[in-house]
């Protein structure tokens, strides 16, 4: 039983890391209806930029701010070059555009900073901590704390500031938001910049975990089932979905893995998400789509 709880906690904490990537998705999907496949590439870009700046001797916060500025520039460029000409196109076109975008960003990041693996040491020891008889990774706890703070900041941003209120208006009804004079382009840019910031945080944590390298952009594939379970439009859903995926994935690997052969972590979340979808086609917290002819 202790072992079960330990696996469960480890899985839940690992799930938080998935949620971090998923939140970036949700932000963009809510505000612009774009299913942003390039979020993983943004995570890679941010982490690689940060690490390279840091290795060039720029202090931590300096590198952090400079990376943030570059994510801002990226958001501006994306809005100008990709989103603006594609206004009013079907969602599937926008999705494929972000697929192309992910290629551009990945290529750009590696062209600028090279494709070797960088180590990233955030100064958090990864020694397991004993909590109530269970071993819990200290790093995972830290990541969970960061995710909590991030969600808090985001919900403050969404609920208490003028920008947040306009963001919610756009998410609710784009046409009505336009009619009351909200500038859609600016909102999109802000949202992509915020998603870039979330990507930076996720990139730092994932980078410290796996090393900063190309495979960071593949975490996007783990975030997809998280979104499916949580629903595309809810930040809270992204967290819950992440927890479910993280926990079930670890449990499946431990208890189901030996029965059918190991390495099922790759596809298990997808099958789980599929089962979820058959019961609730729009996720746990997603908005139910109403179709009209």
């Amino acid at each position: 039983m202790d072992f079960f709880l330990e696996v469960l906690t480890g899985g839940l904490l690992a799930g938080v890391m998935y949620s971090l990537v998923a939140i970036g998705f949700v932000l963009i999907y809510k505000a612009s209806g774009v299913f942003n496949f390039a979020q993983g590439a943004m995570v890679l870009f941010a982490a690689l930029t940060f690490v390279s700046l840091w290795e060039h001797g720029i202090p931590f916060w300096g590198a952090f701010v400079m990376t943030l500025l570059s994510m801002l520039a990226l958001a501006w460029g994306v809005e100008r070059v990709v989103l603006r000409p594609l206004v009013n196109r079907p969602p599937i076109t926008l999705f494929m555009a972000t697929l192309g975008l992910s290629y551009v960003i990945e290529g750009l990041a590696q062209l600028l900073w090279g494709s070797q693996v960088h180590g990233l040491e955030l100064g958090i020891s990864d020694e397991p901590l004993e909590v109530g008889g269970m071993l819990v990774s200290q790093f995972d706890l830290f990541a969970a704390g960061v995710a909590g703070v991030l969600v808090l900041i985001l919900s403050l941003l969404f609920n208490k500031t003028r920008i947040g209120i306009t963001l919610r208006a756009v998410a609710d009804d784009q046409l009505a938001a336009l009619a009351v004079g909200i500038r859609l382009e600016r909102i999109w840019m802000i949202v992509w910049a915020v998603a870039g910031f979330v990507g930076l945080v996720a990139g730092l944590l994932w980078g410290a975990r796996l090393g900063v390298q190309f495979s960071l952009s593949l975490v996007v594939l783990k975030a997809l089932p998280v979104l499916i379970i949580g629903g595309f439009t809810s930040v809270g859903g992204a967290i819950v979905g992440g927890l479910i995926i993280g926990a079930s994935e670890k449990l499946a690997e431990i208890y189901l893995g030996p029965l059918i052969g190991g390495g099922i972590e790759n596809w298990f979340p997808y099958v789980l998400a599929l089962l979820f979808l058959l019961v609730r086609p729009s996720g746990i917290f997603g908005e139910r789509a109403i179709e009209r002819v």
Binding site: L99, N266, Y270, V293
Partner: protein
């Protein structure tokens, strides 16, 4: 006015439903076919056949498969490579396990196996739509590569899951030479394109397009949604499966499951975006583009940037160019190269006038 249509009248429905209604089109088509079937095998050297024409044909087949599903029936899929893998491994096993199995029959059965898998992973499409459906196809992608690596039976207990093509024999002729493999691929591609063209122009194609444009409306006018979608998955996977088998047998000779990973699925999706969604011809154009562009780029950089850019960087550069091209096409010409060709053709029809 580069070619005249005047004076060519159709006097029966049969004549009106023909593939090529103008004699000019028939001549152009016949010339192409003679070029492809007779001239190319005679004059083509091994490099051209092996490195360019065979992968081009196989990828255009794969593009056709995905185009039927995504371009015509509107179901987006990121699992095309998985169905290719199923086709390849099934064909291999039919050849291996059944004594004296003719190659073409095992190709067909391999395609059918892939079609069966397509139906299984297409089943959720009735209940879930759009991006949510991506999950089903991604599940197919990861699950298939996993099980092909995990379960040794599929690759005849090869340690790393690699399968090697047996000697290719069709109707008693050994066709393992590049020209033979080219002709095999070309003939299979010809038959499948002919079938696909007829399906798309027939009732089923119309149903697919109705479902693509709005499935609720299609259901209201009495189109059986489940059957239509599942047929799209089945036929698309059938074509993809055969493409996968040809990829393994006629092009590479040996493949492992990871040769059919997610990036292959992306590549096939890019083929239909660049070539043209919902266009049979687009699959060819897109595949040609995807095969030729990297060769062109590496030749260009070898000539102009020699010594400036190292090969690793070149790959990144290539990625950026591909991504940028995708975005460019989506913005400027969402119907792809096929649409550009159509514009050129239209201009030629009315030349020297503008309209």
């Amino acid at each position: 006015m580069l070619y005249r249509e005047s004076g060519q009248f159709n006097t029966s429905y049969r004549a009106d439903q023909r593939w090529f209604r103008l004699w000019q089109q028939r001549w152009v088509f016949a010339t192409w076919m003679i070029l492809a079937f007779v001239v190319v095998p005679l004059i083509g050297n091994d490099y051209w056949l092996n490195a360019i024409l065979i992968p081009f044909l196989v990828l255009s087949l794969a593009g056709l498969g995905l185009n039927l599903l995504t371009g015509y029936a509107g179901q987006i899929s990121l699992g095309s490579a998985a169905f290719m893998a199923i086709g390849a491994f099934a064909t291999y096993n039919f050849q291996l396990r059944i004594e004296g199995m003719p190659l073409l029959i095992s190709l067909f059965l391999g395609g059918l196996t892939a079609a069966g898998a397509g139906v299984v992973f297409g089943l959720p499409s009735l209940r879930i739509k759009g991006f949510y459906l991506l999950v089903s196809t991604l599940a197919a992608q990861f699950f298939v590569t996993w099980i092909l690596t995990q379960c040794g039976w599929f690759s005849n207990y090869n340690a790393s899951g690699v399968i090697t093509a047996p000697p290719l024999v069709v109707l008693g002729q050994n066709i393992s030479s590049p020209a033979g493999r080219y002709l095999l691929t070309l003939s299979v591609a010809f038959v499948l394109f002919w079938l696909a063209r007829n399906i798309v122009h027939g009732e089923l194609g119309r149903r697919w397009m109705a479902v693509r444009d709005m499935d609720t409306a299609a259901a209201v006018i009495g189109i059986p949604i489940l059957q239509t979608k599942l047929l799209a998955f089945a036929i698309s996977s059938f074509v993809l499966g055969i493409a996968g088998a040809l990829w393994a047998f006629a092009y590479l000779g040996t493949v492992e499951p990871h040769g059919f990973d997610l990036s292959r699925s992306f590549q096939i999706l890019f083929i239909i975006i660049i070539g043209g969604m919902g266009s049979i011809l687009g699959s060819f154009l897109g595949a040609a583009f995807i095969v030729l562009l990297p060769i062109l780029l590496s030749n260009l950089s070898a000539t102009f940037l020699a010594g400036w850019v190292d090969p690793g960087q070149l790959e990144n550069l290539q990625k950026i160019i591909f991504g940028a091209l995708i975005i460019f096409f989506l913005i400027k010409e969402p119907q792809g190269l096929a649409r550009l060709l159509e514009i050129v053709r239209q201009r030629a029809r009315v030349w020297p006038l503008r309209f």
